[in-house]
Symmetry: C2
Subunit: 335 residues, 2 copies
DNA sequence: TGCCGCATGGAAAACGTTTTCGTAAATCGT
DNA sequence: ACGATTTACGAAAACGTTTTCCATGCGGCA
């Protein structure tokens, strides 16, 4: 109701508004005794500065935006957890937005930030995004952007991601070494950096081991479980069914598990499975799931740290493309 | 760089600042032609209002805060997903904070909102919180609060939760009907509403079926996986080991799975397991896991809807205690 | 004594909106 | 044709800070 503001405080203290403001911010212009007196009263009245006034004046809000395609996803959750960790430590506030894989909505969001709602933005692009103009505008407006996971190098911004190509290569090779001859890949939109890199890693591993690349073994999945279910079922019902499957994201593999149950396909005897995944229960599944785990938390931490550097040291900040390695954990699904 | 503001727009248009402002907000005071002209130019220059100025003036920010103990948790994720859904539809911005189960930090956060950073707050309390004074202050300051999941009825605020008591009762009864005689319960802090209700449901189900309540079968778990691992291992190594286990939250059961593997305890032959859980892979575990699933998404949606009502219709708003039912899905872990 | 510099504090502008109030011209009713 | 109302717009205050600039009093110094 009656939140105290500087004016009230100053009249209580018999000082001017500016003196109180300076005292609270430890200005050298104010004597120690006055500072103490002011702070004591401020605490007593539980004074909380109005951040809209102060942000307006300072043109800084200590707030960052995070845009992710979705939140019900183990990777993004851990990444956000990492972001929160460093944001909290550096006293930043975090606004979270879900683009739901819609480029239009992403664009709208990004544009709304141009007026300074946030000091910086972290983003993982939608599957549809292939035009960076909205982001370029933001950057030109002086608001730093850092990409994570689904990145673009088109702009002069930092990116934080994992070694997608190498990990996909390694995953595919893992299947080959386990004896697979007909390896399929469920890929994600190739508008995405990760989609391309993971597909390339897969393809090159096949080539290295003299296995043919069959386009019928590369299926494009969406972000709709029902559709993906059909896609994967079709793939696995084929009479020339694959004996190994490498999926670009976790959800495709979980669907594959369900399809296999339904079709009576035995994992790993009939089909070996490996996926990029941050599933906590990978080791408890039936059978346990071989995963390539991205350092999601660290990716989030690193991305947030980059962003805050860009915000706070604009002069000295140099954008970097940071790669954090994923690790392959062999389990029964490829045994 | 050079973001346009009202002053620039008005000088471009040859109108006053106030006219432009009113035109953009569709005021009845402005003629249709002027409105159109203004809007066209505003769009052309990609005008984005400075929300700090406007929030300062209007004392409204179209922003809500969400405080959850942690984010790496399937229940909270889904709830946040639901919150985002309605916030986005109603054009609210969502600030997310993690209390990390620290009462002190929760208090600090809540106090910082008193100055009007947000128009309202959604909160799921920490395990430690047993004093509501900080929340009462916020409410007295005219900022509505809605509790979800870990609620308190001490304040005159809406709460959204599930039927914890009945579900716990049902879960325990489910174990009894499956033939368990020695049923243990991993409980969560009894400072929490859900901790108490779930424990009571468990106890009353035992009583109804004439099974003794043994305090050694009720173990208090924390939020630290390492500690909880020890606690659960001790429980399951006892020579008079339980033959059924009902855990208050998902993570305890996942730990139990691991402990059982290590000790060679067979689920469900030696130990039947049931838990509150929002795990997507419950059906894919080895063995598949019987769960009581809370309608997390809907809880989030409902909580956000309540909050926005409280914000936008303060006169007509009546706080309610809303209960959304959980559903028990029997699977192999209690078979 | 006269001057300078320092320490401490205050007055007022500024941030970009929204909103209240005023005013001129146009329209209306009789 | 006259006052009353309506229409369309502008001037200026207000929101609560931060910051720039100025004022005062004091001690030190030559």
């Amino acid at each position: 109701m009656d939140s105290v503001n500087l004016k009230k405080l100053s009249s209580i203290l018999g000082l001017s508004v500016s003196t109180v403001s300076k005292a609270l911010r430890d200005s050298y212009e104010i004597s120690e005794e006055t500072k103490e007196r002011v702070k004591k009263i401020a605490k007593a009245y539980n004074y909380q500065p109005n951040i809209y006034a102060s942000s307006l004046r300072k043109a800084k809000s200590k707030t960052i935006a995070v845009i992710v395609p979705r939140i019900a996803n183990n990777f993004f959750i851990s990444a956000i957890d990492g972001i929160q960790e460093v944001a909290q430590e550096k006293k930043y506030h975090v606004l979270i937005y879900l683009s739901h894989e819609s480029y239009e909505y992403e664009k709208e969001l990004v544009q709304s930030f141009a007026s300074g709602r946030v000091d910086g933005m972290l983003i993982s692009l939608t599957r549809e995004t292939n035009d960076m103009e909205h982001l370029r505008q933001l950057v030109n407006n002086g608001i730093p952007v850092v990409f994570f996971d689904r990145v673009s190098t088109e702009l002069d911004c930092s990116t934080v991601s994992t070694n997608d190509y190498e990990s996909a290569f390694e995953a595919t090779e893992h299947l080959i070494k386990a004896g697979c001859k007909k390896i399929a890949h469920c890929r994600i939109s190739n508008k995405l950096s990760i989609g391309q890199h993971r597909l390339n890693g897969y393809r090159d591993a096949l080539e290295k081991h003299n296995l043919d690349f069959h386009s019928k073994y590369v299926v494009k999945c969406s972000d709709n479980d029902v559709e993906d279910y059909k896609t994967i079922k079709t793939l696995l019902k084929d009479k020339d069914r694959p004996d190994g499957l490498f999926t670009a994201v976790e959800s495709y593999t979980l669907i594959a598990y369900e399809v296999c149950r339904e079709l009576g396909i035995k994992i790993p005897q009939d089909l070996k499975l490996i996926t990029f995944s941050n599933l906590r229960t990978a080791g408890l599944l039936d059978p346990s799931l071989t995963t390539i785990t991205q350092p999601a938390f660290e990716i989030g931490e690193k991305a947030a740290a980059e962003l805050i550097s860009a915000i706070e040291k604009p002069r000295y900040f140099k954008p970097e493309n940071i790669i954090l390695k994923s690790v392959l954990s062999p389990r029964d699904s490829t045994n």
